[in-house]
């Protein structure tokens, strides 16, 4: 309950403190991260190619928005569908192999989509990206204004968060965690592990697709990077730094990542170097991310406050 209040407060207050476009980007990235975390945090599958679904959805929906003037609902629906279908295709190839191969394959297939986008300049614009993506009106409401679009995206984020919450609290959520904890046992219990992993993959892809469409409409352009491995790495980093062990981790991670990348990249073109360094530092020292650091901090405070001689166990 407290988490929801905090998030609602953040949604309402954020545009007051931060440029509307950045604020919007934060919620978009949070949706992206939620999708990845179902795979990474809950199922234990490190997918290094989520940009495949993000970018594919952005390109397809963006193309239809630009040349066919489709409405918002159709664009969103297509984004989710493209994300899910591309994830089904990629996932089908990947889940059949064990952990190491899975990771390599998600990356390699991401590269395939990337190079296809890079070369198919007539459709995607190649290196230059696909500019000119409009924001259609919604039921007569004009969402062109930054604040109006922010509200739309924030609303969609809240819906996405609620959906993900339902999923992780459902039997499927538990099954996926069981697969992460002990795959052979989960199988012995009667769960078709490959199929479950594929389901998680498709759901993750759907979320990524939604994020992709919203991204295209935010900046009015689908850049080539949106389908590239750096983007895939970005969302992994954001999820990691937020804390992959909880539902809200990716949300926090999105804040941290977007804030970092926007503020640093404005100053220095070599921002990926800092990202790499941050990656290394987080991996070496802050693996649980912000969520765990927060928990450890409170445990430390509780331990300090406890009377001498009392044993206080740190929560895990």
């Amino acid at each position: 309950m407290k988490a929801w209040l905090a998030i609602l407060a953040a949604v309402v207050l954020l545009p007051v403190f931060v440029r509307h476009a950045i604020a919007t980007e934060i919620w978009i990235f949070a949706i992206f991260g939620l999708g990845l975390n179902l795979l990474m945090g809950y199922t234990g599958l490190l997918s290094f190619g989520q940009a495949t679904f993000f970018g594919s959805a952005a390109y397809v929906a963006g193309y239809l928005l630009k040349y066919y003037g489709i409405n918002l609902f159709l664009a969103l629906g297509i984004g989710v569908l493209v994300g899910a279908v591309s994830a089904a295709v990629v996932g089908y190839l990947c889940v059949q192999r064990s952990g190491l191969y899975f990771i390599m394959l998600t990356f390699a297939l991401n590269q395939m989509f990337f190079f296809t986008a890079y070369q198919w300049t007539t459709v995607t614009g190649g290196e230059d990206g696909m500019p000119g993506i409009p924001r259609p009106t919604v039921l007569g409401l004009d969402i062109h204004g930054p604040l109006a679009y922010y509200a739309t995206v924030a609303g969609l984020f809240l819906v996405s968060l609620w959906v993900m919450k339902r999923i992780v609290e459902s039997p499927l959520g538990k099954i996926l965690q069981a697969i992460r904890e002990n795959e052979p046992r989960a199988e012995a219990l009667g769960y078709d592990v490959s199929r479950m992993k594929l389901v998680a993959f498709v759901v993750g892809g759907a979320f990524s697709g939604l994020a992709g469409v919203l991204y295209a409409m935010l900046f009015g352009i689908v850049p080539l990077e949106a389908i590239g491995f750096v983007f895939s790495g970005n969302v992994v980093f954001a999820t990691l730094i937020g804390g992959s062990g909880s539902l809200y981790g990716p949300v926090i991670g999105s804040f941290v990542f977007i804030w970092l990348s926007e503020s640093v990249s404005a100053m220095w073109a070599r921002w990926p170097l800092l990202l790499g360094v941050a990656f290394v530092i987080v991996v070496l020292f802050f693996r649980g991310g912000v969520v765990e650091a927060w928990a450890r901090f409170w445990a430390w405070r509780a331990a300090r406050r406890a009377p001498a001689g009392a044993r206080v166990d740190a929560p895990r």
Binding site: R166, I167, E169, S170, P171, L172, G173, K174, I175, Q177, A178, E181, N182, P184, R185, A186, E187, A188, L189, G190, Y191, D192, V193, V199, V203, R316
Partner: protein
């Protein structure tokens, strides 16, 4: 009526024949023990029954159908459940969830799989709590599974198998690593299962096996060297030879 029957079941890993032409029958409702020295192939035999390995040759007839080579995730749905020799649980999940998942898998329909809150399945939660109560872990249902002792984890291991409401229960050394007290508790638990389930038990502790089995099969180097009632096995010279000083003389 035998619930499960193997016909010349064989599993070879390259040059090593782990299970060699094992033919036996398990009567429904009985408690049938499989014993033998380390490396006799007992766990591999179980792995063949539960689909972790596909047999090199031979048949496994369960309830009239040959199930050899069925993948593990379908075995559970046939009504076969198993506990593992090396404790195989879900450490981070709660004890209740460990058992709940076993029960959920066996539901006829998985309605609400991705939508309904997992704690809104009252029948399943009740069944899980019942099973936990039966093995003596009812009080600890909310704890993460990794926070209980080894002995309690062995109880959980058994509970997970029971929660699937199986017809055939395969227990692989349920007393492994247990103290004498804990072993006694486990023996009592397993004895209570007689009649309600068909149980196949792999166990090292001979006195445990002798006291509660209806029939005993003895494996050695992958082959079945003897089978019969506990008395018959106790008197079998070849069995005594295989087990260096394992079985007490009558």
């Amino acid at each position: 009526m035998p619930l499960v029957r193997t016909e010349r079941l064989t599993k070879a890993f390259g040059a090593l024949t782990a299970v060699n032409e094992v033919t036996l029958e398990i009567e429904e409702g009985s408690l049938h023990a499989v014993i033998g020295p380390n490396g006799a192939g007992k766990t591999t035999f179980f792995n063949l029954l539960t689909g972790q390995h596909a047999p090199t040759s031979g048949r496994i007839i369960f309830d009239g159908r040959d199930i050899a080579g069925t993948p593990p995730h379908r075995i559970a749905h046939l009504g076969i459940a198993r506990s593992f020799q090396r404790t195989s649980i879900f450490p981070v999940l709660s004890i209740l969830d460990n058992v709940w998942l076993a029960a959920f898998a066996r539901q006829e329909s998985w309605r609400g799989l991705a939508w309904r809150r997992a704690d809104r399945y009252p029948e399943l939660t009740r069944r899980a709590l019942d099973v936990l109560g039966e093995v003596g872990l009812g009080e600890k249902a909310g704890l993460p599974a990794r926070e209980i002792s080894h002995g309690e984890q062995r109880q959980l291991e058994l509970a997970i198998a029971l929660a699937a409401a199986p017809r055939l229960l395969l227990l692989d050394e349920p007393a492994a690593g247990l103290s004498p007290d804990e072993t006694q508790r486990m023996v009592t638990l397993v004895r209570r299962l007689k009649g309600r389930y068909t149980v196949v038990l792999i166990e090292h502790k001979i006195d445990v096996v002798m006291s509660m089995s209806d029939r005993i099969s003895v494996m050695h180097f992958g082959s079945l060297i003897a089978e019969g009632t506990p008395d018959e096995i106790r008197r079998n010279a070849e069995v005594r030879r295989a087990y260096l000083g394992g079985i007490a003389a009558p």
